[in-house]
Symmetry: C2
Subunit: 304 residues, 2 copies
């Protein structure tokens, strides 16, 4: 008889708590020179957040581990990958919030990094978080060939054809009428690329076969898109206090969103079809993928 499965909420809370500890251990201490920079890096990354990317890494790792895997080395590797994706995500938020980008003063209910530390330190903190992510991958106790694969996946997800590229298109799109398809390309790069990378990286590091990896990619594409549709819906249906960031911001600057392009009702329908597509992709993976399935429901149902 197997152990009774932990409920999703408890599992999620435990994973989030775990990655906070991992990040705390892997980030340079605030007392190490240059102290202000290290304080800013910690402030940027340790300020809470949903940790969706880290949680996806762990869930994908669980879904992919072949029987007989050396669990302890695998666990360390997954910790490093989970931290790495959170570092990249954290850096992107710091830079996005800067005055020359979104000019946001509030993030996760706290002053943004540049408000707290000044613009120069905020930019440098973001700049330094990025190589730290690759440093963490290089330290994983897995086969070097897997580290190289992981490095490439992370680099591409973060780069000009991934997150940074999506951000660039987003910047250029203020006041521009985008089609639903153009919107999908932009979000697929800006948010989807790193969410997908989180899933695939968890699988790769855990030793996923190419078949499993393909299913993970299908799953990831669906939830990556779903994540952004939810964001756009929340921007018009939620309030600043609940979100922990400024609500109604996209509409205020005339930024195209799913809601502005296809409307609230069709956005909700799209969301449900993406949720179903994510579940379908996981069917061949069996019970080991149940956390990924639960995360899909969680992403679709979240209120912040």
């Amino acid at each position: 008889m197997g152990a009774r499965p932990i409920a999703f909420d408890a599992w999620l809370a435990a994973r989030v708590q775990h990655v906070e500890t991992v990040l705390d251990q892997l980030l340079p201490e605030a007392a190490v020179v240059p102290q202000t920079l290290h304080q800013a890096m910690r402030y940027a990354v340790m300020g809470g957040g949903k940790r969706v990317r880290a949680v996806l890494v762990y869930a994908a790792g669980e879904a992919s581990m072949p029987a007989g895997t050396a669990v302890s080395a695998q666990e360390i590797a997954l910790d490093h990958v989970a931290a790495a994706v959170e570092l990249i995500h954290g850096y992107s938020l710091v830079h996005d919030d800067l005055p020359c980008m979104d000019d946001d003063a509030l993030r996760r209910g706290r002053p943004t990094v540049h408000v707290r530390f000044g613009e120069a330190v905020a930019m440098l903190a973001g700049d330094a978080l990025q190589p730290l992510a690759f440093d963490l991958l290089s330290q994983m106790p897995v086969a070097p060939a897997l580290i190289v694969q992981a490095t490439q996946i992370l680099a591409r997800a973060a780069g000009s054809l991934g997150m940074a590229g999506g951000q660039a298109i987003d910047c250029e799109s203020v006041g521009v009428a985008l089609t639903g398809e153009q919107l999908q390309v932009m979000h697929g790069m800006k948010t989807g690329a790193m969410l997908e990378a989180s899933v695939v990286l968890g699988g790769v590091v855990a030793g996923a076969s190419s078949t499993v990896r393909q299913r993970l990619e299908d799953y990831a594409a669906a939830i990556g898109l779903a994540f952004q549709v939810v964001d756009d819906i929340l921007d018009v249906t939620s309030d600043t206090a609940t979100l922990g960031k400024t609500a109604g911001k996209d509409a205020a600057v005339d930024k195209p969103t799913y809601v502005s392009v296809i409307g609230l009702e069709r956005s909700r329908e799209l969301l449900e079809s993406l949720r179903l597509r994510a579940h379908e992709a996981l069917l061949p993976l069996g019970p080991a993928s149940h956390r990924l399935a639960e995360i899909a429901d969680y992403i679709v149902g979240r209120d912040r």
Copy 2:
């Protein structure tokens, strides 16, 4: 009878020309979406410059290659490393020039990236150049274990204990009286870390033994420091037209430099002792290291 050695100037010009071609091939095309971002990345990286880091990669590779090395794979790997260090250097210049940092409008005799493309695109171009560097390393046709080593070396040189950290200390030092030693720590991180990484990376990828690598590190430490001392001397002795960037800038903002801390005469003495230290470090490596020796003289003697 060996081939007659090519004179240093001709070798240098050929290597610089070569890395320009390599960068042109490895950067995303300007016509690829997002076009503006890719144009800005190319503008940032392809705008000339001395290519000291790339040239160090090639010279260190030449000094380290064991007899019988498969030259073609090695050459591709050195090209990728040379491009990677130039991408990291290029991104750092783009971010350093931004208004929230040095606020410089001129670089290599041309408008800086944010003047030409706007601040948001400039920041994102820098952000996207960084992962591209790691992507290029991941594609090298050498043993995965060497790629992992290279990734770690580059990540640390670029990070908070290297270049980005030195930049942070520099920002905090405007108007602050630094000791000669503090100045050395700051420059060792800000400029030295990436110059040293360039030398060591060239060695690692070419299969340097640990003994050779140690000599390369000693050499690199000396020229890394020499490079900054020359920069500080040129800032007070040269003019804007020759430098291709604003001369007298450090003195104008009361930024500590070698010249302001130890004076022009002692700065020149320090420079000569560093040049000799670099030559000494290379002695055990024999004739294969002659380009590195010539580069030391070149760095010390440069006028821009």
